[in-house]
Structures are given as structure tokens and as C-alpha cells.
Symmetry: C5
Subunit: 243 residues, 5 copies
């Protein structure tokens, strides 16, 4: 079985984010047919559990472009593809249209490492999440302009320190994870967050809007995807209701 | 039952705006089937009335991207989602395609508060709506550029005072409400207005086009959504007509 | 009955422009069913004739995004909505997808008035349309940037005089009408023209491309909609042909 | 019968370019039904031959947004519309979705005329197409920015001379035709080319990318449409194949 | 039979990239009907093997806009079209929607040739791919701005040398191929890569984000298409599974 803890903390892991919209004809299937959907999906998750972990989120009611989204981790993108191909071959998957798909890879810290920025690095590790179990997840793609990438390592380090400073205080109520995507799709980073306090999350983003790094964003969202954290089974069941 | 007055005036309330287009196959249902739609929808509203309030607006004839839009308030985004998931499971909801969905949170004043800008603050509270009951609602998303957010608090305060000055005179025929969205979706603000005088509303927007703040808008509309204020029941009934 | 002459010349009148594409399944109805379409539509026009006037234009063959467009005038946007809701409930309306919808209001002259610009104002009134009855109508949305709106009244007046100067000569073969839309939808103006000489119209637009005002356009078309002027009945009948 | 040679060389002629994608349900018609499509289309061409000429091009395999495109010339846009309305009422036309539609008018030379630029003008007329019969046609819409149009006649003439200089050598393997569209749709020019040498055509476009005029393009393609030159009948037959 | 080695290495060869999404109704065909799909497709490949070579890639699970993509090479674009027209007439092709189509031509080196840049040229030829057989292919369209094209040959050469320098080290784990597209579609270049190391590929792209050339990109991706390298048969079979 894939090691969840390791996949969620190691560098070199592939993260795959895909958003889906159920087609309207799904609801023309009989309620009975839709009832079997969750079991069929869970069998696919079971089949691939040695190679991938899959998280599911309900976005209906929050997003126009999706009803749910998936986050899949693996050490090998081909294993991720194998899982998603099988998922799309289930009844539920067949009635789902993919509306966005982003892939990235995790890495060791580039800037706020023990070596390059010791104080902020220790700030990062000294604070930890103390809020209620997060009920919400947010996925935000980020792409920076050529001017950013053409600056020196030192200049970029300095900017990232200014990025980190005001965000440290949110570590208590926001969990975060970063994926690198340049060349793997049309974004540079996929940022992923979990929180139970959407008001705090809004304040966090405003504090990052105010730092100079923000002048280099050519993509900051588009889409911003907000969902509730659910089991895969619940997501399928919730979206399979209706007469 | 959710406290309408409180939800519409307190900070920390979540506002959810979603626009919908009825699919053409809705009109292939028999007139009888469509007749039951309003009751089924109202039962869902009733079911969730302890947690949310829902307002509905008819946009058909004014908008290409929607036939109606909903504004839902609650103290908890998960409650809003639960309501909208149930709404989408009704016959009427199933035949509706979501075309836009924005979420925001209400806050205390950031700039034109008693402390920071006492004169304008009292101008805000001294005027009040005196026109006929508003028949129209307008929803306009607003996003500002990085240069705006990177200016100092003082500079932004000054600009917002210039924003407020020419708008005070419209308080007599325009009601307004502001939601903050940075990081919750791809806009910074959702602005909502009610009026019975669309000519005055056009003049109000022109006066805001003329202040320097306007140079910092990267999104001002897109979409601007104009609808008539209706009961939820009337919206469903009106859109369910036809042979 | 709505006073056509008054609605087409007074300030404070609402203009509503909507473009439509017939869905392909319309042509799966039997020819007999499509034959009745025009009468059903005309009955709706008749029903609302006290409150609105409706003009129809055939765009098929000229536009990718529409087959026809409607221009509706009234003193009250709710009356316009009532008409369009009924129109969409006809067989023909049900099989039409709205692809664009713009609303505006007419106003007295802002710049080239008797007071502010007497010479050009008299130029406007001294020339009049002398060509053949126009067979073509063109609708062009226009939106100006924040820099334009932030200029002083005098500066904008000066620019509008430069706009007017080269266009006066086209009054003999182009009829025009202006609607103001800021805040009512995502454009500042809807411009509407009728002509029988599309070559002259092309020259007119080139002459306006050459004035400095053009540097402030963020929307100039998108879409530019060109249609032939037809009776509403003919539009419906023409589009209802086919086996 | 419309005079093909005259329509293809005179000023004041209307050119209409429309691109189409066949809907997938066309292939659900029986092969027999599809077999009759070409004859039905050719009958429409025959019916309108006094007023228009129609050329057809196969783009399937080259373009995502179209399977074929049409170029229609006439002295009167209403005649073009009449033809296209009838074409769309054929079986083949009914199963086609229009994906782009541009209209323009031909004019005498604005810049490289005998008077204004005698040397280049004689260069234009001294070279002529000597390659194999062209098998490919390319349609490229072009729109220029306000800065271009605001420059003086002399400055624009100078730039167009720089445009013409490097292109003269391609007259031997590229045929060209220019249509003016400002105000008739959302482009300023429609450029149309025929060639048998796509490598040379690529080099031609690179040479135009290198002249200063290119800095003023706000649209240069979008879409660039490449097709093979075919008879109308062959286009319909080729796209009607399949089981 | 088309000479694969020659087509993949010579200048003057046409490359055609097309991405496809299977329509949902494909899965409404019986499993038996879908079973025959691969054989029918392979028969078309066989029929055209004298003129074209066709490579297929599975993108499902990585891309929202496609399930697979094709790369077709030939000496003659008309031969490529003939193949793709036949492919689209198969059952599998009929149920596929084309979502992107780019065409280009291969050329001799423009900059890093033996003459103009001898050192880097020998760097290019001295390194070669030593990794595991690549399992992934990436296609990235690139378009440069007018400022780039207006620079002198020397300046562009210098920039391309700066492009080449940091990329040489990736020759051991990334294979590459370049196609020129200006005027053939809405991009200047189609870049194609094969690798087994997506982490290295991400680093390669970051190193190119950091060179000044990047400031001249108006298109760098959009879409970036990532797929697994498969036989054509496997792609069809994999996508034909499901109950
Ligand atoms: C609890 C809140 C946050 C903290 C403590 C935080 C901290 C950090 C740190 C330390 C880094 C540097 C990583 C490295 O050294 O390689 C970083 C990078 C980054 N963060 Fe944040 N961050 C937070 C929230 C956010 C948010 C809300 C966003 C935007 C959606 C964001 C976007 C990014 C991006 C795109 C990078 C990579 C930038 C680059 O490498 O150029 N972060 N963050
Ligand atoms: C009756 C007319 C209006 C009045 C009296 C008014 C007044 C105000 C005031 C006092 C604020 C500051 C709130 C604070 O202190 O945090 C504000 C903020 C704002 N207003 Fe208006 N406003 C009006 C109309 C509009 C309109 C028509 C729009 C645009 C659609 C608009 C967009 C905004 C936005 C986006 C903000 C938040 C700006 C920021 O925090 O950066 N307002 N308005
Ligand atoms: C017969 C040709 C035309 C004439 C005589 C003409 C004349 C005028 C005049 C006198 C005004 C000022 C109205 C006022 O004082 O409030 C005006 C405004 C305007 N015109 Fe034209 N015009 C012509 C054609 C066009 C065309 C072809 C367009 C573009 C599609 C256009 C776009 C506008 C716009 C958007 C305004 C409002 C500008 C503003 O208030 O900032 N006009 N025109
Ligand atoms: C054989 C190759 C070509 C030759 C000889 C050529 C020559 C010319 C000439 C002489 C003019 C000036 C017409 C006048 O005096 O009004 C012109 C205009 C123009 N050409 Fe080309 N051209 C060639 C290819 C192209 C290509 C490949 C494009 C771009 C797709 C292009 C786009 C245009 C446009 C848009 C104009 C009108 C510009 C304006 O009026 O501002 N031409 N061309
Ligand atoms: C192994 C890695 C790479 C190497 C060794 C490499 C090397 C080169 C060389 C030598 C050239 C010049 C060709 C000539 O002389 O005409 C070139 C051109 C080019 N490369 Fe790369 N490259 C690599 C990766 C990439 C990547 C990842 C991209 C972007 C997706 C890219 C985009 C381009 C483009 C667009 C050109 C044509 C530029 C122009 O002609 O203006 N290359 N590359």
C-alpha cells in the first residue's frame, strides 16, 4: 500500500489535480444505477492503492466549473494515469467531464531553507496547525512572469522572505503544500491549502496581495478551487442523489 | 430560523452568488412536470431555513449567460453548500447549468470607519434610501491590481475617500452591500446593489469610472449581472412557463 | 400602443440588444411545426405592444455567434423583460440560445450640445440621411479605459469634437443611435447604425480609428454585429425554412 | 452568371469568409442520406450563380475549429446572405456549425499605388505566380492598434513600403488578396493567400514578422485558417464519407 | 513505406499535432462495437503508410482538453490531410472531437549552426540521450513577440546562445524536436520532447524561464500537452475500455 505519510511529505512526489463536472445525463440514470456508483469507484481506488493515494473534495455550490476535484499522489506519473484511466472507465467517471487538470512535483525548499534563511526557516517549523480539523481545501495555480524568473537568486530569495514574513502567523489555522509545474502544464506552481477558517484564509491572501512578489503574478487562481474535504465515497454518494 | 436581519448586516457572514442557465431540455418536460418545480424548490428552502437565507433574481432578457441568479447567506459555508447541493438535486436544479459562482465574506469597514474617516462615515449613515421599493438588483465582481494592494494603508484610504465622496448622493436611490473574496475565488470583492432607478445607477457607475481608483481595476464586472428582484417561487414559476 | 417615434428619440428610454443562435434541433421539428413559429412570435409582440417596440435583424451568413438579433425599446426595463420572457416561451424562442445581451439607456447629448459645442451641434442637425432606405444594421459595443474617464470634462469634450468632425460627412448615408451602459452590463456604450452603404460605413469606422479617442478603447466591437433589417415575421420565417 | 474574373479583381466587391464544423450527429445519418448532400448543395450554388461565386476549402486535419471554410464574393452583401441562408437550409448546412464569419470589401491600393510608391508598384506588377497550381489556401485576419491608425498617412505609407519590400520575391509562389473589414466585423483586414509551397509561405510570414509594422498588430491570425483548395462538391463528398 | 528515420531527421518535413477528446457517447456504444475500434484505426494507418508516419500519445489523466494526441509526419501536407480525413471517418475518429491542431515544418538550424556558433553546435552533437527509454512526451507551442522578430540576426543569435547554454546538460535525459509554424497556424514554433524524467524536464523549463528570451514569449504552452508514449493501437484500446 502506498505510504500516505511519505507521499505527503517527500520531495520528488507527483501531485495531480483534476476538476470534474457531472454531465446532466447522469441524473437520467435510474436512482438504482447511481446507487452503485460509489462502490465501483471505491473498487478502483482499492485496485490502485499500492501505487497512489487519492483525495476527493466536493465543490458543487462553490464553483461553476466543477462539482468535485481529485488530488492524486504517486511516485510515478504513469501510475497516476493508470488510476485515472480506470476511474474514468467507471460509471461515475464516464458521466464526469474533466474541466481542469494540473500536474506538479514536490521539491525541497528553494529559498527558506536552513542555510539560506535560517530565521524564517525556524519560524516555519516552530508554528503548527492548532485549529479545528480543516473542513475546506483550496487549490490555487500560480504562474510568474519572465521578469521574476530573470531576477538573480538573491533578489528572488529576498522577495520570498517578504512573502513568508506575514504568512507565518497563519500556520496555526492554515495547512499548505506546494507543487512545481513549469513545463508540465500551463502554470509554474500548484498551491494547496486546508483550513477551517475561511475568513482567516481571506486575510492571508490579502496579506500576500500586498507584497511586491504579487506584481509578478500572471496567474493567481483562474481557477481558484474551493471545496469541502470529504471521503471519496461521500463525494460520489452526495453527487449521486436526486430523483 | 436564520435571522435575516442579522445575516444581512453582520460581519463574518458568508455570501454566495451563483448564476444559472436553464438547459433547453427543461422545456421538453411536460408542462405538468414543470408545474411541480416551484413547490419542490420551496421545500428545499424550507428544509434549510434554520441555516441559510436564499434570495432569487430573474435575469432572463437581461443576460446571455444566465436566466436567474441566487444569493445565499449563512454563518457557515458548509451550510450554504448543503443547501445548494439539495437545490441542484431538485428537478429545476438538475435542469440548470451553473454559469458563475462567487463566494465572499462580510467585514467591518476597512477605510471609511468612524476612526479613520469620520466625516465621510457620518455621511454614510446620515443618508438613507428613500426611493420606491427597488425592483432591480445588480451584482458586480471587482478585482484590483498588485499596484493597488502594494500601496500603503494611507494611500488606499485616500483613494477610498475619493471613491466615497461622489457616491454619497446615490444612497437615496441605491442600496449596497460588499463581500470580500480574495483567495476564496477569482475576484477580490463582490459588490451587490438594489435600485429602482437604473438611470441613476448608470450615473453612479460613471462617477466611479472617473476616480483614480478605477485605474487599478483588473476586473470590474465580467460579468455584471442585472436581474429583477423576485421571490424564489416566482422565479421558478416564470421560467417554467411555455408549451 | 407604445409611441415608436418617441421611444426612438427621447432620452431616458431603455434599449435592449440580444443576439440569438437557433439550436440545430429546431430543424428536427417538422416543417409544419416550424411554419407556426412566426404567428406565435407575432402574437407575443402584439401582446406587449403597449409597452415595448421590438425590431429584428437577420445575421445568419454574417455572424458566427448569431442567426438574428433583437432590439427592444421601452420606458421600463421590467416591461422589456416581460416581453423577452414571453418571447423565449414561444416555440421559436425555446429553440434559440441567447449569445449576447446588452442593455443601455438613452440620454441627452453630453458634449456636442448647443451650449458646449455650438458649431458641431449645428453640423449635426443640418445634415440628414439622403441615401436609399437602409438595408443593414450594425451594433457595436464600446468601452473606454480608466484614463479616459479620469480626464477632465474639457479634455473629453475636445476629444469628442475631434470624433465628431470627420463623421459629419457620413450623416447622409449612415443613421446612428447611442445608448449608455456603464454598470448595466460590461460595456460603456452600445452604438447602433443603419446604412445601405457598407463601403461608406467601413470608411467611417476607419476615420474614427484615426482619432486619438481610439487609444482609449478597451472594447470596440467584440462583437460587432451586422445584420439585415427585416420585419420580425420575416426573420422568423426565413430561419424556419429547410427540410 | 456572376463574372468570376471581375469579382476577383474589382474594388467594391464584398468577400465573406465563414468556417464550419460538422456536428457529430451528421454521421448518424445513413450513408445514403449523406450521399445526397453534395447534389443538394450544388443546387443551391447553381440557384445563386447569377449573384455570387462560392469557393470551398477543406480544413479537416489542419484546424481544430473547422472542417471546411467558404469564401463567397458578390457585389451586394444581401445576395451573399441569401446564398448562405439557403446553404444552411440544406442537409449538409444544417449539420454544420459556423465557427467564424468575417466580411470585408475590396478597395483600390491605399499605399503602394502608381502615384505614391511608383517603384514598388511596378515591382508588384512585374512579378507573377510561376509555381505549380496552388493546392493550399490560407486566411489570416489582421487588426492594427490605435497607435498605427493615429499615425500620419506618410508614416503609414513608409511602413507599408517596408512591408512590401521583402514580400515581392514571394509573388512567384504566393497569390494574395486583401479585404477591408473595419466596422463590418472585429478585424481590420482579411488577408487571403494561395500557394503550393507552404515552406515558402512560412518564410514569407517570418519576413513580415521582422518589419516594424508587426509591432502594431493586435490580431494576426486567431484564427489562421489553412485548407486545401477543392471544388465545393469534393469538400461536401469528402466530409460525407464514413460508415 | 515512409522512411521513419528520414522523416524524423530531415528539414522540409511537415509535422502535424492534433489533440482529441472522446465524446461521452462513445461509451454508449456496446463494448463489442468499441472492441473493433483499434483494428479499424490500424487499417487506416496501414493504408497510408507509404506517405505518413503517425505517433499516438495518451493524455487522459494529465490533460483537461484531451484524451490523446497524434503526431503525423509527411513530406506533403495533403498526404497528412488524407490520412487524418480517413482517421476521422473511423468509428473511433468519429467519436473524437479535435481540440487543438498545429502544423509546422522542420528546418536546418538557424542559429546554433557549425558556422555561426561552433562551440555550442559541437556541444549539441557531443551529448546524447542516455536515460531509460522515455515514457513521456510533451508538446509546447511557442510564439514570440514583434520586438523579438524585429531584433537583428546578431542579437537573436546571442539570445539563442544564452538559451542553449543551460539546456545542454539536459540532452542526456530529454530528446527534442523543433517545428516552425509562423503563418501556418497561430504559433511560431511547436516544440516536442520525450523524457523519462519529468523532474529533470521541470528543471529544464525553469532554466529557460530564467533567460532573457523568455521576456519575448507571448505563447509558451497554452496548451502544454503531456502524454505517455504508446502505440497507436494501445491508445485506442485503452480509451475503448469501460462498461
Ligand atoms: C500559511 C501560509 C503560508 C506560508 C507560511 C507560506 C510560506 C512559504 C514559503 C516558506 C515559501 C518558500 C518555499 C521555498 O523555500 O522553496 C513559499 C513559497 C510559495 N508560496 Fe507560500 N506560504 C503561505 C501561503 C501561500 C499562499 C496563500 C499562496 C498563494 C496562493 C502561496 C504561494 C506560494 C508560491 C507560489 C510559492 C513558490 C514561489 C516560488 O518558488 O517562486 N503561499 N511559501
Ligand atoms: C451608493 C453608492 C456607493 C457608496 C456610498 C459606496 C461607498 C463605499 C465605501 C464607504 C467603501 C469603503 C468601505 C470600507 O471602509 O471598507 C466602499 C468600498 C467599495 N466599494 Fe463602494 N460605494 C458605492 C457604490 C459602489 C459601486 C457602484 C461599486 C462598483 C461596482 C463599488 C465598489 C466598491 C468596492 C469594490 C469597495 C471595496 C474597495 C476596497 O476595499 O479596496 N462601490 N464603497
Ligand atoms: C455618422 C457618424 C457619426 C456621427 C455624426 C457621430 C457623432 C457623435 C457625437 C456628436 C457624439 C457626442 C454625443 C454627445 O454629445 O453626448 C458621439 C458620441 C459617441 N460616438 Fe459617435 N458619431 C458617429 C459614428 C460613430 C461610430 C461609427 C462609432 C463607433 C462605433 C461611434 C461611437 C460613439 C461613442 C461610443 C460615443 C460616446 C462617447 C462618449 O460619450 O465618451 N460614433 N458621436
Ligand atoms: C506575396 C506577398 C505579399 C505582398 C507582395 C504584399 C504586398 C502588399 C502591398 C503592396 C500592400 C499595400 C496595399 C495598398 O497599397 O493598399 C499590402 C497590404 C497589406 N498586407 Fe501584404 N503583401 C504580401 C503578403 C502579406 C501577408 C503574408 C500578410 C499577413 C498575413 C499581409 C498583410 C497585409 C495587410 C493586413 C495589408 C493592409 C495593411 C494596411 O492597409 O494597413 N501581406 N501588402
Ligand atoms: C535539451 C534541451 C534543449 C536544448 C539542448 C535546446 C537547444 C536549442 C537550440 C540549439 C536551438 C537553436 C536552433 C537553431 O539554431 O535554429 C533551440 C531553439 C529553440 N528552442 Fe530549445 N533547446 C532545448 C529545450 C527547449 C525547451 C524546453 C523549449 C521550450 C518549450 C525550447 C524552445 C525552443 C524554441 C521555441 C526554439 C526556436 C527559437 C527561435 O528560433 O527563435 N527549447 N533550442
Amino acid at each position: 500500500m502506498a505510504d500516505r505519510a511519505k507521499l505527503l511529505t517527500s520531495p520528488g512526489v507527483f501531485g495531480n489535480f483534476s476538476t470534474y463536472k457531472l454531465r446532466s445525463d447522469y441524473y437520467k440514470l435510474s436512482a438504482a444505477e447511481r446507487k452503485g456508483a460509489a462502490a465501483e469507484v471505491m473498487a478502483v481506488v482499492e485496485k490502485h492503492k499500492a501505487n497512489i493515494i487519492a483525495d476527493a473534495y466536493l465543490t458543487r455550490g462553490f464553483e461553476a466549473q466543477s462539482d468535485y476535484f481529485l488530488r492524486v499522489h504517486s511516485m510515478d506519473m504513469a501510475a497516476t494515469q493508470a488510476f485515472l484511466v480506470d476511474f474514468r472507465a467507471t460509471r461515475f467517471g464516464m458521466y464526469s467531464d474533466v474541466t481542469e487538470n494540473l500536474v506538479g512535483i514536490t521539491k525541497a525548499l528553494n529559498y527558506i531553507s536552513k542555510d539560506k534563511s535560517p530565521d524564517l526557516n525556524s519560524g516555519l517549523s516552530s508554528a503548527s496547525y492548532t485549529g479545528d480539523a480543516p473542513r475546506y481545501a483550496i487549490m490555487i495555480p500560480v504562474k510568474k512572469d519572465a521578469a521574476w524568473w530573470n531576477r538573480s537568486d538573491e533578489e528572488r530569495l529576498k522577495e520570498m522572505e517578504v512573502h513568508t514574513q506575514p504568512t507565518l502567523q497563519y500556520l496555526v489555522n492554515v495547512k499548505r503544500k506546494l507543487y512545481h509545474s513549469t513545463g508540465l502544464d500551463d502554470t509554474d506552481f500548484i498551491t494547496y491549502f486546508e483550513t477551517n477558517d475561511l475568513g482567516a484564509f481571506n486575510n492571508l491572501l490579502i496579506s500576500l496581495a500586498k507584497v511586491p512578489e504579487n506584481k509578478h503574478h500572471v496567474r493567481w487562481g483562474s481557477p481558484t478551487v474551493l471545496g469541502t474535504i470529504q471521503t471519496f465515497e461521500t463525494v460520489v454518494k452526495t453527487l449521486s442523489m436526486g430523483n
